[in-house]
Amino acid sequence: MAHAGLWATSTECIAKAGANYNSTAVVDTMINEFCLQAENLINSLTRYNWSDLFTGPATTTTISADVWHLLGLAESALVGKWMLAYKPTGEDGAMSRIEFEDRINILRDDFLFAISILRDKQVQKFMQNATI
């Protein structure tokens, strides 16, 4: 199935979720759904339609690759968090609560960090104008 998310690939999301996420249940279809939800959330939170500006690494002609990875960072952190949260005890059922919470907190912090930057209208202008 083609990856539906625009900004982060499934591989990037899986890397963010890290080892021992429940890969049996969290399949690519689900990751795609998570990606679309994450993109909608990011667009709404930043009040800017990034999906119009950035249509994916293969097709985009309006935003520079020097800056669009920030969108992928935000998206993959959020999706990785949801993937991990699908089964907090991990695929092997042995992930401790402390490890789970640590990993969730890291992803949450990454996401909020990226969003704090993306919400800045000066950053939005900078990203739009970055040389392609």
């Binding site: 939170l45 909020l112 960090f113």
Partner: protein
């Protein structure tokens, strides 16, 4: 002595207990307001439907550098993100009013705590950590004048 409501629109908790009559509603719980101006990295001016004037709000729990100490970036960030926007003021009933009589609140914009956001990207520090890294004023710390 009568309270100067023009200079200090907020009554402290002590003053509220003394039943001082306020010409405008006092803020004791969370409210939605519109940000009309960013004063500096940790103070904004807001409009509230229940008052016919705008008033200052100091971010609770964070400290941004003063304008002459590099606080321009923090002010600029806030201007870019929340100026003109509606935000939620989350009031801590125990810490409603701060130094200089300003209302203290956590400022929530689109579900995000803006104080946390500013700390996360390095534009502000926690209020407790505001003096970390500063060279202490030995005259003040040791009160050297007392020896002379």
């Amino acid at each position: 002595m009568a309270h100067d409501f023009i200079k200090f629109p907020e009554l402290t908790n002590n003053q509220l207990q003394q039943h001082i009559v306020s010409p405008h509603p006092q803020i004791t719980m969370d409210i939605f307001v519109k940000v009309v101006k960013v004063v500096d990295g940790d103070t904004i001016r807001v409009e509230w439907d229940e008052r016919d004037f705008d008033f200052p709000v100091r971010f609770l729990g964070i400290n941004a550098p003063e304008m002459n100490e590099g606080g321009e970036d923090a002010k600029e960030y806030l201007r870019n993100v929340i100026e003109g926007e509606e935000v939620l003021l989350k009031i801590d009933p125990k810490q409603r009013v701060g130094k200089y009589g300003r209302l203290l609140a956590k400022i929530i914009s689109l579900g995000m705590d803006m104080g946390d956001a500013m700390m996360r990207i390095g534009l502000a520090t926690s209020f407790e950590g505001r003096n970390e890294g500063k060279i202490p004023d030995l005259n003040k710390t040791l009160r050297m004048e007392q020896w002379f």
